[in-house]
Amino acid sequence: MELICPAGTPAAFRQAVDAGADAVYCGFRDETNARNFPGLNFSREELREAIAYGRRNDYQTFVALNTFMRAGDEEIWYRAASDAVNLGADALILADFGLMAHVRERYPEQRLHVSVQASASNPEAINFLVEAFEAKRVVLPRTLTIADIARIKRKVSCEIEIFVFGGLCVMAEGRCSLSSYATGKSPNMNGVCSPASHVRYRKEGTLMLSELGEFTINKFGPGEAAGYPTLCKGRFDIGDASGYAFEDPISLDVMGEIEALKAAGVSALKIEGRQRGKAYVAEVVSTLREALSTEPAARGPLLARLKAMSEGQRTTAGAYEKRWR
């Protein structure tokens, strides 16, 4: 199984490659990808150098163009696709049908992967993407169990990639407007979830409050482990009870299930975290690389050290385990 690693900067890209990635995914420094954060991502020139660095070392570079094109401004996405193709991207990771159709028509040789943001969660959906756009690989949403994945793989002709470590979307990806409901900016339209422009941290006595737009979404006691200020991991009141209505601050880790994933027919394991620092990339990629070539019994202690990298300093297998539902 391939190990697909994130890079938000050229420095992180080099770390990913040096730490043992099979492929690195990244995006341009604009709204064409779902990690459109200040100071993050690649200029055209940086991507050219990154792809060359990957080539020299026999690693692949995937370019994420996984937001939805804004009507009237499609040219921004078309130009990004054209540049990525010309710079030699090994695959484009797409979510928007309109963009997929465009890429298929203009660049028939270009390898096309379907982003998790497209929300293809069943065999019929995947077969549609293969039939309509000749998708070679689909990244599955984090809503499926390993048994679901195995069943899906038996019925589709393309490769399957799944997230194994990092941020955990509680909602079906690409189908969530919680962020824009509170801030006006969404992953689909703007490539941001809980945009930094709308996040504020406030001290209230010994508590740290996180606010998103006009809404308080969490309060942390002194020393209490925190997570990203996303709504799906916020604390709310329902009736008389306060708590995490959707999910705790926690990250995904299904590396304990490598054998089951292999048996399910998964082709590639993806690490989330283009927004993270190069230290995260180096640590997570090298650890997972080591875990992949280690006896199952020895993996536990190896992976335990990644908890410190995780939201709430905890990890979960999420939807990959049926009980999570």
Binding site: G8, T9, P10, A11, A12, F37, P38, G39, L40, P195, A196, S197, V199, R200, Y201, M208, F220, P222, G223, E224, A225, A226, G227, Y228, P249, Q275, R276, G277, K278, A279, Y280, E283, A308, M309, S310, E311, G312, Q313
Partner: protein
Amino acid sequence: MRLTSLLAMPLGALPIIPVQHVARRLFQRLLEAHPDLFDRLGEYRGCRFSFTPTDLPLIFLVEPGGPTLSLKRKRAVVSADAGVEAPLVMLLALLEGRCDADALFFSRDLQVSGDMEAILALRNALDDCDIDLPRDLSQLGGPLAPLCAKFATEVRRRALKEMA
């Protein structure tokens, strides 16, 4: 006992001007070694950032637009667009990209305030620069050079040990 709390004792009593003088020389040296240090800041270059080591009585104010660096005592009134607070070794480790800021935020070792876009832009700008304090500061020249390089090496050793 932490290295930095040892440092804090004499620094608390030191006059701020000479300390600031040394800090500015180090800052200048970093900018020479990494002329693209603030490139990724984009529109946040004009922001004023405060860095508050939790274990020192000082606040470092950085304005990339200058670029300028100044020091204030903690009791002084300081205005900044965005601020980061953490033990000194962690701030320096972040400068070198040796630890992940998000992870330190999750563990609550790092506190952030003010404009989060500016914070993210700065983090990403620093993260993409391969700052290596012992290497970069060893070329400082003058009587301070060996001292700084030694200090930086020691800080890194401590940082990695404390965060392990």
